[in-house]
Symmetry: C2
Subunit: 334 residues, 2 copies
Amino acid sequence: MLLPVAMFGLGPLGQRVALELEQRRLGRIVAAFDPGPELVGRPLAELVPGADPDVRIATVPGEFDGWERVRCALVTTTSDLELCMETFRVLLDRGCNVVSTCEELSWPWLRHPILAAELQERAVRGRARILGTGVNPGFLMDALPVALSTACKRVDRVRIERVQDAAVRRLPFQRKIGAGKSLREFEQRVADGSLRHVGLGESLHFVAHYLGWNLERWDESIEPVLAERELASDLGPVPAGHVRGVRQVARGDVAGETVLELVFQAALGEPEPHDSIRIEGDPPLELRIAGGVHGDTATCAIVLNAIRPLLTAEPGLHTMASVPLTGCATSLSG
Amino acid sequence: MLLPVAMFGLGPLGQRVALELEQRRLGRIVAAFDPGPELVGRPLAELVPGADPDVRIATVPGEFDGWERVRCALVTTTSDLELCMETFRVLLDRGCNVVSTCEELSWPWLRHPILAAELQERAVRGRARILGTGVNPGFLMDALPVALSTACKRVDRVRIERVQDAAVRRLPFQRKIGAGKSLREFEQRVADGSLRHVGLGESLHFVAHYLGWNLERWDESIEPVLAERELASDLGPVPAGHVRGVRQVARGDVAGETVLELVFQAALGEPEPHDSIRIEGDPPLELRIAGGVHGDTATCAIVLNAIRPLLTAEPGLHTMASVPLTGCATSLSG
């Protein structure tokens, strides 16, 4: 029997996760929830070809009475841990394991230590496991650097860079990073919080924790990447001096020195997209993934690949470094 | 209190592991064993500065009566699992956890399935854990490729390359790979089994297992890398036509196609040493560590870094993909 799964959130990412779960035969969706008025009541199979035709999208999980047979819930609703808490409480109290793309859940002790303690307690009590993951945060700028450091006897300094060419990504992503905006519009969107990659601070603290570093200071900056000359794009021409993307840098200090630097840059027309990890230490190591890792594809993959290792772990609140990394998963049985 | 550790094997690698264990404050050696006549009876501190002056090197573990306080044994004796079994039996039966550089232990199901089953049974019975690891096998050509595949929804083919410049390594390593020999001497040493990197087949089957592939066929080749022109080296000049190193290739097939290829090449004067992992799949990924990873340094580091995650795992026979990768370890308490 395939693993019985409940889906929470059926936006573009949730739909894709659901579809790949079924296509890769990693599970079978037995319940689906999304409060969107255009979704409620519709058969899941309309959005996710191949899904069980009897599953209809419901608003709240209270209506569902089959929790004892659900092994895992996939929650792809929002970056904001506070907004996810109601769902997480329902699931953990019913003993249902959770994998979520909620960025703040990847290292919840940073912004929500009290909620993190609550999740840990509820998970242990319900004998369930909960994990926040995705390509970033979750893998490229946190779990992978920590994994790489396994080959080191000493780590002095780490620099992690993720540089993406937004031209090959979906239009909503291009809009999200401010591409095509004027400098002023960009600054307004930064000020109102609508333009920000969530998770850089989480990745920073994840790495610091597993390297045993107590950061005495950290900060995060956000700035525009400007077009030097007019650029063609799927959003229309971007004039010189307008924004072609965003650059965020997070830094952490120990003993007055910056030991950890994370650079996230996503812009139209990046000439050399890549992911890189540079460890200064013994031995020094420099890892590079030329071309970078496709964000949407990898996030879906990681969420689904994380189910199996999570289910083998002890009940509790987990991170990508507290469960084994068992790689690209093959089919899971219930 | 530092983690109480027992050392088995005090050759060059064992001495280095012991020294770093103490220097990194990851443990404290409370017992040390090596049957070498030049070692038995000597204070460990003569070989490992800073070690407990009361610990003397003993031949057999039978003489030691403090097993109940030893949390972990580090076994750096031989590549051959059969030869390690007596030690492993003693340790597991006494409930002592084991991390070993025994190459065949990294994936013991390949060449010793019956011994693997015995280890699993003894470990569970003794409530102990046992793990074989090192830089290769153990990390670069097995755990790291599997970890990388976490970002993939589908893996079609994997190629892993480890190319090392032997000129920067110790003389015994240079000799071990046949550098400076004539073609005929090389072939003799291949025939008598004294020239071989142990573990490529283990890494191949490790990766295949975690990707869910049943290899229907596999093979491993070994050939010399010849000097095209005379080379200066620490072993003396290597004439053109003589051997400057070794190239081993392991391949695994599924459905009549080679899906997994591991290339290990170590030779004097390699112009571009590197470690690389190429995944053909969705998304395709190509990871490269330019310059490669220093073998001795990384093996010591990995053995010591693996202690902590192993101790948190369930009792049993483990692999580097069944324990969490918690990275470069900071100090461990007992």
